[in-house]
Symmetry: C2
Subunit: 242 residues, 2 copies
């Protein structure tokens, strides 16, 4: 209350504390799940929260969130990391003037980091009430993922290095939250040049069935694959990337 906690710069401006947070998403057990951290201390003691922590001098925001994820929840295998937004409601933390920059992190479905005891995965469709304003951040991350799955090659960040179309379909379905047709998914992603066949097949399951061909993403760099068709510059339609 009466505590003066605000530090100042040499220019005499009061400065807020700054933390970084991450919505780390992964498809696990057919569901899109988010990594949460159970708070050991007030405020919001015992509540689940997004992992993260204070920004240290010398770090960029991205350095900061990577460091916190590595140190506190032992997560190093992010296949994608991007900034979502910076939250600044003056009262968002009951204890201090604190800004928070939120990131979206993605992990391929085939890694399974060892987590400390106070950390666990939660299905994004069934989250507990979260600490601070974190409730609003998870949907923002999810929306960003949904949008970019549709118009970029971001699927690479959810998938293992090789997979069948059916497996990829299940990942997309979990991330998008609705059924996806393997037939059409394959055609869309092949037409766009996002996927390429790897030439091998996966063995059939015990119940039989035709073995699926293996594919991989052509690149793990984020690319926009569906230039907005609308209001595009005049000229002949662009060719497939070949």
């Amino acid at each position: 209350m009466g505590r003066k906690l605000v530090t100042e710069t040499n220019t005499g401006h009061p400065t807020p504390a700054h933390v970084t947070l991450a919505v780390v998403l992964q498809v696990r057990a057919g569901e899109l799940q988010s990594l949460l951290w159970q708070r050991a201390r007030a405020p919001f003691k015992g509540r689940w929260a997004l992992p993260g922590g204070y920004l240290s001098k010398g770090d960029t925001l991205e350095d900061s969130i990577r460091r916190h994820l590595a140190e506190k929840v032992d997560v190093r295998d992010l296949s994608h990391l991007e900034q979502l937004e910076t939250l600044s409601e003056p009262k968002r933390s009951p204890k201090e003037w604190q800004l928070a920059t939120a990131y979206l992190g993605l992990m391929p479905s085939d890694v399974d980091p060892e987590l400390p005891g106070d950390t666990d995965w939660h299905a994004v469709d069934n989250l507990p009430a979260l600490a601070f304003d974190h409730d609003s951040i998870v949907p923002a991350g999810r929306e960003r993922l949904r949008a970019k799955l549709s118009y970029t090659n971001l699927g690479f960040a959810l998938a293992p290095s090789e997979f069948t179309i059916s497996e990829l379909r299940d990942l997309y379905a979990a991330a998008l939250g609705h059924d996806v047709s393997a037939t059409n998914l394959q055609r869309v992603l092949l037409r766009r040049g996002v996927l390429e066949p790897i030439g091998r097949q996966r063995a059939s399951g015990p119940t039989g069935g035709r073995p699926g061909s293996l594919f991989r993403f052509r690149t793990s760099e984020l690319e926009i694959t569906d230039q907005f068709a609308v209001l595009r510059p005049p000229g002949p339609a662009r060719l497939p990337v070949a």
Copy 2:
């Protein structure tokens, strides 16, 4: 490694200074232009920079940028304002550890705020070298505008309250940076229910020609009008918004 991990008691976390900046865009004289401010002080004395300033206690980031734009460059007529990104390179300011949150602001083409002497509009295609890392922010704002013009009704933020299709075409062409067909622009925006006819016409010019009908944007709330057609949920195609 030996670093002391975060404590929730806010003892002794060094905190960065925080400023807000804005890329304020308007179509002027057929060109997309950005509002810049000439620095009177070191660092980068004399260089052009994005308008903005320090975050004050009690303000959100959005409050802050609105206040700075109103106070320093007398700009109050923003038709749209959204957060772009937060920049955090530790050395981005030579004088202090300083984060900057950048916003995109838009103004309709028919307002012309009075500007102080150290402030002026510059064509985004022909900008001088800017102070700090501001060079990278303007393109980010421009890209955001371009994308949202394609899949939302954001055009409302660039246009006056009534306009002919030709006038709107010129605004879109300036903002997108390429020719736009009035024919197709009209059909796309009408089909999407973004525009509605106002029932009146504009008088012909001195050289004659058929007078153009006047239109307006149906709403000035940002709406997504082109749900990504790709990977959409199964079911019958959605109907026009009617």
